[in-house]
């Protein structure tokens, strides 16, 4: 298991990742053992109101959901929420 939390950012939120390309993988690895999504957003400099869908290991989650090392977190901005075809 990974020794960090893997944060995958999309849309406007990619700005805080090293790879900001819209067709790339904007990943931030946080060296922390656990916390909430809210803690993580504070650390990486994203405001809670900028965020829409949050996934932890592929499961829809919210700002107070707990995250542990080894988890994969996907965070989408507000202008990418709620889409269907």
């Amino acid at each position: 298991m990974n020794n960090h939390i893997e944060i995958r950012l999309y849309g406007k939120l990619r700005r805080v990742a090293p790879d900001k390309r819209p067709d790339g993988e904007s990943i931030l690895n946080l060296n922390m053992s656990e916390g909430t999504i809210r803690n993580i957003l504070d650390i990486i400099g994203i405001k809670a109101e900028e965020v829409s869908n949050i996934f932890i290991n592929g499961k829809l989650s919210d700002l107070d959901s707990k995250v542990r090392k080894g988890d994969r977190v996907g965070i989408f901005p507000r202008d990418m929420s709620l889409l269907y075809v």
Binding site: R21, P22, K59, L60, F76, D79, M80, L82, L83, V85
Partner: protein, 582 residues
């Protein structure tokens, strides 16, 4: 002008206008196509025989100034599923038909001589059939351009391609977009082949000086429209600069991939490592960088305020194709292991030209890959396979009949179909409610017939755990409200705004009341939708469907899907509850 039905008898090559029977007066779109099919087509009819019919109907408010209301429904008995079918598209043809006072076009019979193709011309003076052989055997891009030279470039066109002429079960009905491309498909279920089996190749509709939609209560309509416009313009999904408008429907590629529910390599995984390269973000960036003909925020019909369509440019800025939307990109991209928008664009363009539904075609190629005809990820080979359909080779005729047919021909057991129709871009093992809809829809596997994803993944209209199997009620409610929206002419995407903003739904129903003079409430609207589903269900039962057909393919019950490693564990009893009404 009183609305009428336009009946086209292809046995006698005659057309006539009929008054609208009382029982159809308040119907439109899917409600009307399904009612006419249920009343006039024997359930046991061969889909390609003389007793099947094709019914084309604009929605209740199509042709008015209501926002995003240019959908047109096409109905009949499906050669792909063997059941009742309604497929719809956004097109100015819908608005022209409505403005000409035509509630539905009913195409019936079959000419004895099957060598000739005809086109139906409709304008304010009336309708007539004429020979159309010069456009048969051609790609639709060439054929549509020929029609514009003959009839002017403002006409609305509804047509079928070469695959339909070869009576392949994956042939859609194609409508032209605002700039004239053959790109707006009522794609699913093979109704294109039904139309071609009657010798009808095109319907050309001239909306010039059309009298307009008769309205019972203009004030009520205006009030309703105002509420709906406000809802659409404030909701994050549907507003200008919102998700659909900025990224197109493909914004969902990254979301479903993150959710672990993006079917990959013929439904063998829920995550695709190349997803970012074919995402809505990649698409918007490509359009921006390449410039030229590229465009996002492109409307499919006049008066759309959502505008989720796009035009994808080649590297040199010239147009490659319109439209790269979520389902089509997914079908040829992740589901075939392909991570290039240029390749998905090429494949979509071939479908537009030949006359194929992209969801079924992408699933077919993926099944063919699984069956050993190509490696997953081999875009060149995928293009070659689609071209076999165009050429009408023996292999092409297998592929042109869809995923189930191809799976059988190649001995593949992992074939993602329900009632013979291939699944769209949501994996039922990761999102159980959509699996319930796939299994129990009257249409075969169809996400649009009950989009539980809204609640299970996107938190629209409440929140439901996607892994929880008790989903009969959720799916039933979505199936009912969808059947209503499919009858109005409104784009299904309006659902986001009206589910979250109650005044929006009220406004939608009020615009219908304004046109029809009815007094429907929001609850009435849902129960009207329920009645449509019941009617379709009755037709399917008479056509031979039982609860055994309301099931997902067996492999989904025992093959765990990564990354969640879950199977489809919704019990049969839960599936059977969907259509058990109080």
């Amino acid at each position: 002008m009183e609305p009428s039905l336009l009946r086209v008898d292809m046995s006698k090559l005659e057309v006539k206008y009929e008054p609208v029977p009382e029982k159809y007066r308040h119907l439109g779109g899917r409600g009307l196509t399904s009612a006419i099919v249920a009343d006039e087509v024997p359930p046991e009819a061969h889909p390609l025989g003389k007793n099947n019919k094709v019914v084309i109907a604009p929605g209740i408010v199509s042709g008015t100034s209501a926002p995003s209301s240019g959908r047109v429904s096409v109905g009949g008995k499906s050669p792909l599923t063997g059941g009742i079918k309604e497929a719809n598209a956004g097109s100015k043809t819908s608005q022209y038909l409505a403005k000409l006072g035509i509630k539905a076009v009913i195409i019936e019979g079959q000419p004895k001589d099957r060598d000739n193709y005809y086109l139906l011309r409709v304008d304010k003076e009336g309708a007539e059939l004429q020979e159309a052989n010069q456009w048969s055997g051609k790609g639709l891009y060439e054929a549509f351009n020929g029609l514009y030279r003959e009839f002017g470039d403002a006409v609305g066109i509804c047509g079928v391609g070469k695959s339909a002429e070869m009576l392949m079960a994956n042939s859609g009905v194609c409508f032209n977009d605002l700039e004239g491309r053959p790109s707006r498909y009522a794609g699913r279920g093979g109704l294109g082949a039904v139309m071609a089996s009657k010798g009808l190749k095109f319907i050309v509709v001239d909306g010039k000086e059309a009298p307009g939609v008769k309205m019972a209560d203009k004030e009520k309509f205006k009030e309703g429209k105002k509420k709906l416009v406000e809802a659409l313009q404030t909701h994050d999904v549907t507003k200008l600069g919102g998700a659909l408008n900025s990224y197109g429907t493909a914004v969902l590629i990254n979301i479903m991939n993150e959710a672990g529910g993006l079917p990959t390599r013929n439904f063998s995984s829920g995550r695709f490592e190349g997803a970012a390269k074919v995402s809505g973000e990649a698409l918007a960036e490509g359009v921006k960088k390449r410039g030229g003909a590229g465009k996002t925020g492109h409307p499919c019909h006049p008066g759309c305020i959502i505008r989720c369509s796009n035009i994808w440019p080649k590297e040199n800025g010239e147009e490659l194709v319109s439209v790269q939307e979520y389902e089509s990109i997914w079908a040829f991209g992740p589901n075939c292991g392909i991570d290039s928008l240029d390749v998905t664009g090429e494949l979509i363009k071939i479908c537009n030209d030949i006359g194929l539904d992209t969801i079924e075609a992408g699933n077919t190629i993926a099944v063919a890959m699984e069956g050993g005809l190509a490696e997953f990820g081999d875009g060149e080979k995928a293009i070659e396979l689609l071209k076999e359909i165009d050429k009408g080779t023996a292999l092409g005729k297998i592929l042109g009949n869809g995923a189930a047919f191809t799976g059988k021909a190649l001995g593949v057991t992992r074939v993602p179909v329900v009632k013979g129709q291939a699944m769209p871009a949501y994996e039922p093992r990761a999102v159980k409610g959509i699996g319930v809809t796939y299994a129990t829809s009257t249409m075969g596997a169809d996400h649009t017939s009950g989009y539980t994803i809204a609640t299970e993944i996107l938190n629209v209209g409440g929140k439901a755990d996607p892994f929880e199997p008790t989903k009969a009620e959720l799916s039933r409610n979505f199936q009912a409200s969808t059947a209503f929206i499919d009858s109005t002419g409104y784009c299904l995407f309006t659902a986001f705004a009206i589910i979250d903003i109650p005044e929006g739904f009220e406004g939608m129903v009020e615009t219908c009341n304004g046109v029809l003079g009815t007094e429907w409430s929001v609850d009435d609207a849902v129960s009207l939708g329920q009645d449509i589903v019941k009617m379709e269900r009755k037709f399917n039962e008479a056509a031979g469907f039982t609860s055994a057909h309301d099931r997902l393919p067996e492999f989904m019950k025992f093959e765990p899907l990564p990354p969640h490693n879950t199977v489809f564990d919704v019990p049969d009893e839960e599936l059977d509850k969907v259509h058990k009404y109080e």
